[in-house]
Subunit: 135 residues, 2 copies
DNA sequence: ATAATAAACTACTAATTCTATAGACTATAT
DNA sequence: ATATAGTCTATAGAATTAGTAGTTTATTAT
């Protein structure tokens, strides 16, 4: 019931890019990694996933780097975590994305509570867009 | 951001024992395992942890088995999950139990949201006592 | 007493996941 | 041409998870 470091890194990287969004400037992997204390080679993979997900754009060569592909207000934390870690659900079977049989189904009331928690977390993080996270 | 199977098994086992609580009858590991579809030898370990945690009492020998050590209304799901899986926090650094440095600290606003989620999950599961889960 | 039953305990293993590193390749600005 | 910066694939070490195995201890019934 915890967030992966990978998701945390993804959020931090996007926040960094969101801060640079107004100026239109690019940020290199190195700059992002150093500003947030993220291992550079690991961040590389994370940014690639974000790129394939359509959240960032990249430019090669000197003066190259990354920038957000859309407005910070159009990117929410829920979708980022889902992209990096999979479903947000506290229990797999509560997920709306997959349905796997898990033992907890044997208690409908417990399942109900976890479903509620999933919705709450989901709603909260869907409303949390990058513009609300820039300093 | 998901619950372990171990926690799910623990909750289901306790619900089973809560259902037998009024009658005062004991439930053997075999009975609990079969009624909830839990691997018997794994459940054995889980019940042992619950016993050491003071949640259940056990009796050896023929006619032996397990029963709750306290009233179902005195046992909440939050403490069970903490016992089995550790802190409930969606992010370690939000935990009140340990303080470890995690990357997310670099964004106080994000940390704030996760802290809120932790409290919400915690409060919800602390109010969820076993008596509310019996059929 | 003894056999049967059921919990207690310890050790182990197989698979998966997570975090991170390595290195070769491609594109681009100067 | 060269340096810079992203792309891609592979891999490795550690930790965790879920589950199994086997032996020991206590208790009940015969």
């Amino acid at each position: 019931m915890k967030l992966s470091v990978k998701s945390e890194y993804a959020c931090l990287a996007l926040i960094t890019l969101a801060e640079a969004y107004q100026s239109g400037k690019l940020c290199s992997i190195t700059v992002v990694a150093e500003s947030k204390g993220i291992p550079k080679k690991y961040l590389e993979q994370i940014l690639l996933i974000l790129k394939h997900g359509g959240y960032v754009r990249s430019y090669k060569g000197p003066k190259g780097g990354y920038k957000l592909a859309k407005d910070p207000a159009q990117i929410n934390i829920a979708e980022i975590i889902r992209l990096m870690d999979g479903a947000l659900a506290p229990v797999e079977s509560v997920s709306t994305y997959f349905f796997e049989h898990t033992p907890i189904e044997k208690s409908p009331r417990l399942l109900e509570v976890f479903r509620h928690l999933r919705n709450y977390i989901s709603d909260t993080l869907e409303q949390l867009t990058l513009d609300k996270l820039v300093e």
